[in-house]
Each structure stands twice: as C-alpha cells, then as structure tokens.
Symmetry: C2
Subunit: 210 residues, 2 copies
Amino acid sequence: MYTLYSMRRSGNSYKVRLALARLGIPYKAVEVDILQGESKTPEFLAMNPSGQVPLLEVAPDRHLAESNAILWYVAGGSRLAPEDRVEHAEALQWMFFEQHSLEPNIGAAYFWLCLIKGGRELQSHALEDWMENGYRALTIMERHLADHRYFVAGHFTIADIALYAYTHLAEQCDYDLSRFPAVRDWLDRIAAEPGYVPMDLQPEPLVAAQ
Amino acid sequence: MYTLYSMRRSGNSYKVRLALARLGIPYKAVEVDILQGESKTPEFLAMNPSGQVPLLEVAPDRHLAESNAILWYVAGGSRLAPEDRVEHAEALQWMFFEQHSLEPNIGAAYFWLCLIKGGRELQSHALEDWMENGYRALTIMERHLADHRYFVAGHFTIADIALYAYTHLAEQCDYDLSRFPAVRDWLDRIAAEPGYVPMDLQPEPLVAAQ
C-alpha cells in the first residue's frame, strides 16, 4: 500500500488525494505540517531533498516528489492518463503550464494570504505580480474551456486534477472569477465527478511565518 | 516533417533542438524573436495562446507548447524517455522540478541580464530572489549528481536535457558554479554526448525591454 506524505491544506497534496480517491486506491496518509517545519527535518530531507509535500513512497526507501509526476505515476494505465500520443503530450503541456504559470501565482497567494499570519503585509511587494500573472493564466484557461469541457481528450484526466487544485482556491485569495464563466462551470463539473473528495479546508488558525 | 517555432537564444527552445539533434530527427525551424514581439502576434497567439516558444506543430493546425511536454512527445519510444514505471515518473519529477525551481530563477536571470538592455537595473528588486532560489535548486542537483552520473535511469535522458538548458547558462548570469563540482562534471558529460549541439549564442546586441 502506498504511503503518501501530504498536508491537508496544501493544494499540491490535494491533487494526489483527489486522484487516489477517484481511482479507488487505498493509501496510508502521513500528515506533514510544512508550516511547522516538518518537511525540513533531517528525516524528511533524506526522503525528499526539496523539502516539499506531497511525497509518495513507491517502493521501500524510494520516494517520488512533485505532485504532477505523482499523478502520472498513480494514474498510469487508467482513463485518467491519456494514452494517445498527442493527447498524452497535451496533458503534459497543461500540467507543465500549471506548475509554471498557475501554481507559482495562485499557490503563492493562497499560501501567504490564507495560511500565514501577517502574510499579506509580508508579501505586499509580490502580491501585485501574483495577481497579474495569475489572471493571465486564468485567461488562457478560460479561452480553452470556452470550447472544451475538459482540458484534454474530451474527458476528465489528471490535467484537470492538476489545474483544479489551485484554481478552486483562487476566490479565497483575492482572485475574482466572475470574469471567467467557463472556468467556473468547469470547476463545478470537476466537483460533480464520481469519486470527488473536497480538500480539507476546516478553519485553522493562521500560522506565523517561520 | 516537424515544424519547430523557436528562438536561438531561448533555453527552453534549445532543449527541443538538442533532443531532435540527438534523435537525428530532421525538422523545419522557424525563428520567432520574442524580444521583438513576434510571439504576441494574432497569428502566433492563434497557435499558442501562451505566446511562448518553443512550439511544435505535431499535425496540421495542431500545436504543442511547453518545452518539457515537447521533449516527451519527440523522444517517446526512444532511450531518451525511460519506460520503466518508476524511472518514467522520476524523469517527470526532475522535469517538473526544472520548470518550478530552476527555470523561473536561472531562466529569469538569463533573460534580464543577458538579453535585455538595462535589465539588471530594471529587475534589481528580483535579482536577489532569483540568486537565492537558483542556488537552492543547484544545491539539490549537486546532491543528486554527487552519486549519479545522470539524473535518471543511469543514462542520458530528456531529464538531463531539460535541466541542462538553463544550468549551462548559469555562469553567464552571475551564478558561481565553483561550489557545485558534480554539476560542473555533469555539464561536461552532457556536452560530450553523441549528437550534442551547442546553443546558438553568437553575440548579439542586447534588446530594449518591450
């Protein structure tokens, strides 16, 4: 059985939990609170030198990092991972887009505005860039979703899961999605997928920056 | 035959040219000067709404963006793309790391310091972060390369190509690699691979910011 090191309030961690739930794959979850430095201990760094969650143990003492790589690993051979050569590449394209253009902006805004006490003030110099670049990514998604129900292959895939995680947090961290009706419809469509599980967003106190 | 839209001095474009050269795949290259706005024309945006190079035409009117997705597409079925399930995922892991942790830092420093006239002054507020985060990524690579000759699978793969592009530009944009002997040895190893082609770095005048 897989062991997944993740954090409840991490969007990248949520991607993997959402995929495993949809696939019906049981796993052992280990909560790692990165806000308390638990991903920077010598023990954790020995498993993942990047000091990040999620992290999946794929064999004894062999650990896989990077949420989108983990999605490909767990979904391989299922309908969530397109096999057609072009569709496979298009799924990868959107997942690299997610890590390059969406997550660094909406993910950063979510982290500092929603998880860290005083984060808005600490990061006020960066917030404008996150907003501008996050809206640019949302605009590209909106244009695609205007005539596609899902990102790739005409059905729900790990590309949707990768993009969903931070997009569905955007309204909590200052982004106004009213300009993005196709994105909002797609968010509703994903939440209605079989096997969908919500991100665990129970209110918890904000944490001071480490 | 593939048509590749790329820019000679773009590290992301270079990845694809390096892979195609190694694979011995002929292609038609179309130079797109992003510094002159050529990737923001209506015609180009119709092919790639992200307005970025590289871009590969994989079928008539069907275009694939994101350098690392293109690498998987062109290298699929070759020894450059590991087929073993864990090694495949590990290659993806390093390629997402590249787009998330290396390229946004060394790539940004390269762009503003090496290509844009006055870029150092324009981006002085960001340079310190790019340096700190770039060194952090290099440290993770150094640790891995201390006991691996290549990033994945024990031989040269598209994970090496993805990481090579901006790492081999680091010394041109203020990074000091003397602290990273394993990275330097690996850079030399890649440059000695069969089919290696250098990035086209002929001196050209810096361009004013658009």
